[in-house]
Symmetry: C2
Subunit: 365 residues, 2 copies
DNA sequence: CCCATCGATGTTTACGTTAACAATTTCGGT
DNA sequence: ACCGAAATTGTTAACGTAAACATCGATGGG
């Protein structure tokens, strides 16, 4: 209905052939000629389809005048290669699948962005395979679906307890790289060096003279959260400091706020390491509302270094994660696999940096 | 360098069979048998490949015992359908392309997430086509690439001045939906009702008794920014209030901070409407540092209602955008086009809601 | 002047799947 | 027991592309 009507006028005799008889010319539900194929171009240019193929792929051995004819015909018909046929022919899709839980977390979206960018640079498209809830069934479903999907390899960005059960469902021939997991004994893993980041954060606070450091951890199901909490505990124990009970949030600023209210009630809590920046933001708010000044009374460190962290009140000291690098290495590792065959499992750690801003200060004597 | 070495030991004999004899079993550069095909399954099950096809697609007319045999053979060989062949056969890819500038903005990633979710629910995968910089060349390149891509339709999430020039390059047969643009006269557009959101924000501030409202706009190239700024100006003019000069930022908290410092220097500035939450965050920080209290001295309103907005100091009054709904409508509109043919151009506006929190208060007399 | 050689182009075939049609088997009714 | 209909299974062809091989004509050396 919305077919612009001027089109009708424009299509006189000459274009009839270009449009040919496709749109709706046959049975309603029937398949119409999908679009212009090499054969169509070949016919118009008066050559064989193989010659068209050669021109399309820039292969040598086509004389200039012929090439010109073919190119003209292509333009006239609006020819575009059919990638399905190409994929079928080559046995490759030039596509990478990304299985993820959601894009809502900063880390995920930044990583995916980097993956998309680097994949594009290598001539690969990326296909997103979202998993509604990270239940086993869903993840398993995603893998199954992916098995039928047009992808040469997969990058998995999910907390991966679930991978245990689903490992069996992973189609054997598919190349995989996993992000943020402990699956390093089964798959190639790329991850931020969570432990080292946490270590830097806690040591920074201890060096400022704080007696010990409270920790607001992420959800227990998260490997990243566990790794950060583990490092926090290790540093305290090595330094012979008391290990306060762990607070837990769900990564959200709100959960950070609730935990912050609890922490604010403890007079001897002078240093908090939050497992991400958003929870740190919640902590800042809670402390502020309880009249405890940051950093004079309490120092706070976050994790991630999201774009806004420098604009919090006060600007947040935090651990910088290089998501772009994670994405880059994922793509490279996966492409290496695709080209050179399966890679050995193992973990590739991207270093972190502590960014010191205004939310940390020396402990008061 | 961080590659853990234990990995090497893990890969032993047992996996040999799943690997089968493909990798490198023939000429080095030659194409190896891509993977198990229907013919392989058919051979093992002792039936024709058509029967395998019927079983794979759950079609009726296959006797139980045969079906069982085929399924067994499938399992044994690890058969997975080849979607390239399927696409070639059907002339459809069951894939939606999403052309975007980046995932870094909250809006984009939330929208993309919703698109991915709803597309998946309809059996469509989504392919991300990132555009490095939104220059004409790049966008044009993305369209060209997309023309060769295995997609049935495209959702464009880019500021679309550029579409003008590239419209011509848009492959004619491709279905398109555009987000956040004024291309409503050429394509179906889905967008948040930017103008109404801005109107609500400004009216809220005026109703609180503020004489006028300053505006911190987004970059001039952004249609969303222009629409918000336009509505801000319109409300002020309708109400007969003075229209202060527009401040401009680049959506970042940092740019908001810089603008905030300027605004803080104007004693008669008591109400600020920032074009997004991140810039509002920067403004909050600037005002705080300059000793102007929010909301007692200055009221601030943002736009987007990002997850953290409720945890700012003070919690931010802002305009809620329903990105999920935008994504949903994009997918529905595009799928309608794919199934029922081209849709009329026009703009589909998703309503917004003002969320009143702690950053706004009545003007002091 | 003839034939080997090379360059340009055409023809055949296969990639994996499935619609359409053909062939075979099974079964119920007489 | 036999016929026809229905159920089940098999065969053929086509989707668009590109590698491999085949053909044709021209060029140049003997």
């Amino acid at each position: 209905m919305a077919r612009v009507t001027k089109a009708v006028k424009v299509r006189g005799e000459p274009t009839i052939d270009t449009q040919r008889l496709r749109a709706g010319s046959d049975v309603p539900g029937g398949r119409r000629k999908q679009r212009v194929s090499m054969a169509d171009v070949a016919r118009l240019a008066g050559v064989s389809s193989q010659t068209v193929s050669r021109v399309a792929n820039g292969q040598p051995g086509v004389v200039e005048s012929t090439r010109e004819q073919v190119l003209t015909a292509m333009r006239e018909l609006g020819y575009r290669p059919n990638s399905a046929a190409r994929s079928l022919r080559y046995g490759r899709f030039n596509t990478i699948g990304v299985i993820l839980f959601g894009l809502s977390s900063t880390g995920n979206s930044r990583t995916v962005e980097a993956i998309a960018t680097h994949a594009a640079a290598e001539g690969y498209a990326i296909t997103l395979i979202p998993v509604g809830m990270p239940t086993q069934d869903n993840v398993l479903g995603a893998f199954t679906r992916m098995g039928e999907l047009a992808v040469d390899g997969v990058i998995v960005i999910i907390e991966v307890h679930l991978l245990d059960a689903t490992a069996v469902a992973l189609p054997p021939g598919v190349h995989v790289v996993v992000v943020d997991s402990d699956a390093g004994d089964r798959y190639p893993v790329v991850d931020t060096d969570q432990a080292d980041g946490a270590r830097q954060a806690v040591q920074h606070l201890l060096e400022l003279g704080h007696r010990t450091v409270w920790h607001l951890a992420g959800p227990a199901e998260s490997f990243a959260a566990e790794r950060r909490a583990g490092a926090w505990r290790a540093v305290l124990e090595e330094a012979g400091r008391p290990v306060p009970p762990v607070e837990r949030g769900d990564w959200s600023a709100d959960s950070g706020y609730r935990a912050g209210l609890r922490l604010a009630g403890m007079p001897d809590c002078t240093a908090v390491f939050a497992a991400n920046d958003q929870m740190a933001l919640g902590v800042l708010r809670a402390l502020h509302e309880c009249g405890r000044r940051v950093p004079q009374d309490v120092s706070v460190v976050g994790f991630d270094d999201i774009a806004d962290a420098g604009s919090y009140l006060p600007p947040l000291t935090t651990v910088h994660q290089d998501f772009a690098e994670v994405g880059r290495r994922c793509v490279r590792s996966l492409l290496d696999q695709i080209h050179d065959g399966p890679a050995a499992p193992g973990t590739d750690l991207v270093p972190t940096t502590l960014i010191v801003r205004g939310s940390t200060a020396p402990a008061r004597p």
